[in-house]
Amino acid sequence: MSKLTIVAEPDSPFIDITRDFDAPRELLLRAYTDPELVKQWLGPRKYEMVIDHYDARDGGTYRYIHRDEGHAYAFHGVFHGAPTIDGMVQTFEFEGAPGHVSLDAITFEDLGGGRTRVHLHSVHQSVVARDAMAAAGMASGIDDAYARLDELVERLAAPVA
């Protein structure tokens, strides 16, 4: 399975996440728009996923909550335009940081052979807002070269540990 890439340049308000899947775009669209299906994959298993509502149509809204012992992280937003096999656009707001709304454009790119590349382009209101999400520990990435950072950390881990 293809590796997840996360790109977040310093001094930019964007985060870009890319991942390939062994499934056609029609199926990705279903997995992203049917709340019964969204519930089955969005978020790590350690969270109980509660979908308050999820109305994936032009102007529809969604709200879901990740729960673990003693904590609840709620998110909500609005769908802009009807989702299609080409992708979908929605706003995203973590209720722990109200007012910091990001605009997320998800594209489903047909790679042929029944494979699809999913790209999430997340636009925050400012670099500071993006980094604030990082501080909240839920969303945001900052480094431009994840791989290089990984390498560096790997190298640093040994003598420091």
Partner: protein, 118 residues
Amino acid sequence: MQQDHLSAVFGALADPTRRAILARLADGDASVAELTAPFAVSQPAISKHLIVLERAGLVSRRRQRTARLSHLEADPLGEATAWLARYREYWDESYARLDDLLARLQDDTAEAHEGIRP
């Protein structure tokens, strides 16, 4: 970690020369002259990078005889990479679950098609 401190750490890490300096310091403390040697830049330029790293708390400096040695402080790096790792984990795990779901959906679709066959 304070949000502005986190930004300082990532700002410091954004530069390839500074990452190389940190990698070098992982092998042991070094003077500015020693740190400058591998790079095609001047000693004052390396000193400037060290100031940025020091402000981010990634490097501390102490005097030993006539030389000023830089020392790697790994803690902020650990804190910074901790949330990066969490964020990555969130999407890694979500997408791994999506893989499973898509495989199940494709099986269902295949079975449904078989079902229609005479």
